[in-house]
């Protein structure tokens, strides 16, 4: 029987975390192919709705990555992401999604090693949880959207 491999969507900001992934690439630091990136200009652009949609579309885990606090290319978009997603983490439970399936991380453009570590850790954390079977709010939203 094959091992379950989770699909993990990582929303990354253009300036820091996308650069962190590029650094990991440049240094040939392997990380699980489970993690696939979606680029936004700033982590402040990421709406909890996007994360919920990723879960609904089949992601077993979702990451949001931005610049370290104080280093945001747009001053403080990452602080806004932090506020938003701290709250969102608490809502996940109500949606029937284990909070371990979500992670917020700060990765700088030079931190290829950290990018490798956090994406590997996330994959290992989600793998034992198995595939996400959604119930509750997220699924019903899909119905309401028609």
């Amino acid at each position: 029987m094959s091992v379950f491999e989770p699909d993990i969507v990582a929303f990354v900001c253009n300036w820091c975390s996308y650069g962190g992934a590029d650094s990991a690439g440049g240094l040939k630091l392997a990380y699980p192919a489970n993690v696939r990136l979606v680029r936004v200009m700033c982590s402040g652009r990421i709406d909890p709705e996007h994360v919920a949609t990723a879960f609904r579309e089949g992601a077993d885990g979702v990451m949001v990555m931005g610049c370290h606090p104080g280093d945001c290319h747009y001053r403080n978009g990452n602080h806004k992401a932090l506020r938003r997603f701290r709250l969102f983490e608490r809502m996940l439970v109500q949606m029937g999604i284990a909070p371990e399936r979500f992670a917020l991380e700060w990765v700088a453009a030079g931190e290829g090693k950290k990018f490798q570590e956090v994406t590997t850790a996330m994959t290992e954390r989600v793998r034992p949880l198995g595939p996400l079977a959604i119930h509750g709010n997220v699924a019903s939203k899909e119905v309401s959207r028609g």
């Binding site: 650069g19 992934a21 696939r36 979606v38 996007h50 949609t53 290319h73 490798q116």
Partner: protein
């Protein structure tokens, strides 16, 4: 032009080809014939590759191209150009980063091939929703605004004006001059400070390109490099431009108050200037002190003015200036450690900060340069305490870097007028950078300055005695008795740096000083393009350093703000649908650039696209879904999410 897409797969030599089965990817992509063409090339970024892209797109007449290659940070622009040559809009050129995000980090070729397909699927699905973006350029304003009229601001204004730029120089006080005008001689060269400054002050006053606005507090800055609007409140002076600064009104004015210019060590009248040769020359009335402005009957100044230059009806004015670059040179503040009892900086004993000592020895000071104690007699024994309130747990945790050389200047200054006086510097480690300072220190010691080394300066106690003497208790050493103490204090960023950091969106460092864009590569640039920093607002600086920084700050702006040249505007901005907007203003509160105003016609929020930098935070904040982040729309992001979750096939 067809609505279709060409998919280019780049082998990148062996970089991708060895780790991803591109033939399999091509076969997968060709399936169903959904794409206009799928091609594999060895090096898309090489001249032959770029020509291949251009020719292929011309041949197929496709509207879109997806480049499965390296990071867009490397070659997005490259491919936008060669695809642009075939008539494609830059927004229709997308990249799937299959090298950095896949080939180089996925050892298993099978896994890498599947991930490559998923990344391409995401780019394909997203790109179908791309709308053309029209690159917008605008002519830039090449004028300058300089905030702060100290030596750094003065130098910046002169440099820009010499290049033919219009400069508006805002100063919060009633005259230019800053800190340097309050000093008699500069350490270590003992050059006459006012003599260095005075010609520059007249140059500023005379320069046709420079407008000096004093009594001005900058209240708002909006815009971006090449297009700023700076607003300032110019306080009423109650004296018109007819005033030539003859000072005939000073003597008759019946009100005397403490002088800030003299750091409280002297008095001034309610109508005054700062110093002889103030720029502007016109006097100014302090409304807090003036009897007439407080509603009392007084015509002393009016009666004595030969130019009828008094105007009690003057009101504060709002001044608005458009410019392309802003130079911030608001200086720092002297740290006054009055809260440390061990230093006895009580304003009653003969314990002074170095800044106060300078006032007492400056010809434009309260004593016309006669160094005297509070009782009017000359001191005979002076102690200089280094690092007062600095590098200690209850004070500043940093070395200001400019105080040690000043501290040794005390002996030089004192001996010029009191050759018999004994000056003793109490110090720990010395910070005396530069080629000249060591020789300067040797000279001071040869000429009579004594020094006591103490490794616990924060345990030294300054103890004023009844009768005026001051005993200094130094751990492990004999007490020192003197009749004047000069505290060599550091510098703090001050409230003005904080206010400007908010107005300009410029960061402060952990100590409150304004933060460089980069401490090595771009010291005098700020994180906001078009806003430069100079002088002590960046770090405590000597005059020479401030001048160099001002020249650097202006030089960099000049090299990029060229008359006639246009600058490219951000195309990935946010747009608000007025039909869905409820004007709740959450977007405005979240915008880091103050780019969201109100549309007077609809009463709804409106993005100033020239100011918007395209972070998209407002779009995620809007509770009504009224905001679209152009090129990063919800639909585009969701399409990409679906793509990366594409089933393994």
């Amino acid at each position: 032009m067809s609505e279709g897409t060409v998919l280019f797969l780049c082998r990148c030599g062996t970089n991708v080809a060895d780790f991803v089965d591109l033939e399999a990817v091509k076969a997968w992509a060709d399936k169903g014939g959904l794409l206009d063409r799928v091609c594999i090339h060895d090096f898309l970024c090489a001249p032959a590759g770029k020509a291949f892209v251009e020719e292929t797109l011309k041949e197929t007449g496709s509207r879109r191209a997806v480049m499965a290659a390296c990071s867009p940070k490397l070659h997005q622009k490259t491919f936008e150009e060669c695809a642009g040559a075939a008539g494609l809009n830059p927004a229709q050129v997308s990249m799937a980063n299959i090298r950095e995000q896949c080939a180089w980090v996925t050892p298993d070729k099978g896994e890498a091939t599947i991930k490559t397909q998923q990344l391409i699927q995401a780019a394909l699905e997203r790109s179908r929703l791309h709308r053309d973006l029209a690159p917008q350029r605008m002519e830039c304003n090449t004028d300058f605004v300089v905030i702060g009229g100290g030596i750094a601001g003065i130098e910046a204004a002169l440099q820009a004006a010499e290049a033919g730029r219009k400069v508006t120089l805002f100063e919060k006080d009633i005259s230019l001059g800053g800190e340097m005008i309050k000093v008699e001689e500069l350490a270590p060269s003992a050059e006459c400070s006012p003599c260095l400054l005075a010609p520059r002050l007249s140059q500023v006053r005379e320069h046709a390109n420079i407008t000096v606005v004093t009594g001005a507090e900058v209240t708002d800055v909006i815009g971006f490099f090449g297009n700023f609007t700076v607003t300032a409140r110019k306080k009423a002076r109650y004296v018109t431009d007819d005033c030539i600064g003859c000072e005939a009104c000073f003597e008759p004015c019946p009100v005397e108050v403490q002088s800030d210019f003299h750091l409280g060590l002297g008095k001034r009248k309610a109508i005054r200037n700062l110093f002889p040769g103030s720029v502007p020359a016109a006097a100014a009335i302090d409304p807090q002190a003036c009897l007439r402005l407080k509603g009392e009957e007084c015509t002393a100044c009016v009666d004595n003015c030969p130019f009828m230059a008094l105007d009690f009806e003057q009101k504060d004015e709002i001044v608005e200036v458009h410019c392309g670059a802003v130079v911030v040179a608001v200086g720092a503040e002297v740290h006054v450690p009055a809260d440390l009892p061990r230093l006895s900086l009580d304003g009653k004993s003969d314990v002074f900060t170095y800044a106060e000592f300078e006032r007492l020895t400056c010809s434009n000071g309260p004593t016309q340069a006669a160094l005297v104690k509070r009782d009017g007699t000359a001191p005979e024994r002076i102690a200089v305490l280094h690092c007062a309130g600095s590098l200690c747990p209850d004070g500043l945790d940093y070395c200001s870097g400019v105080c040690c050389v000043n501290a040794f200047m005390v002996g030089e200054t004192v001996r010029k007028q009191l050759p018999e006086a004994i000056v003793t510097n109490i110090h720990d480690r010395l910070n005396l950078p530069g080629l000249e300072t060591e020789a300067f220190l040797r000279k001071q010691l040869e000429e009579g300055t004594r020094k006591i080394e103490c490794h616990a300066l924060d345990k030294v106690r300054v103890q004023p005695q009844p009768g005026g003497e001051i005993r200094i208790a130094i751990p492990g050493q004999d007490d020192l008795t003197v009749d004047m103490v000069v505290l060599s204090t550091g510098f703090v960023a001050g409230a003005r740096a904080r206010e400007l950091s908010v107005l300009l969106n410029v960061e402060q460092d952990s100590r409150g000083f304004l933060k460089s864009d980069h401490p090595i590569l771009n010291k005098t640039g700020s994180v906001i393009d078009g806003v430069s920093l100079a002088g002590s607002c960046l770090q405590p600086s000597h005059g020479s350093q401030s001048i160099t920084m001002a020249q650097s700050a202006v030089g960099r702006a000049l090299s990029r703000l060229v008359p006639g040249r246009t600058i490219e505007l951000e195309t990935m901005v946010s747009r608000i649908d007025p039909a869905r907007c409820s004007a709740c203003r959450m977007c405005a509160a979240t915008c880091p650039y103050k780019a969201i105003g109100i549309d007077p016609a609809s009463g709804r929020s409106l993005v100033n696209e020239a100011v918007c930098r395209g972070c998209g935070t407002c779009a995620a904040t809007c509770p009504s879904g009224a905001i679209t982040a152009v090129h990063f729309t919800d639909e585009q992001l969701i399409a990409e999410v679906k793509g990366v979750l594409h089933e393994r096939v």
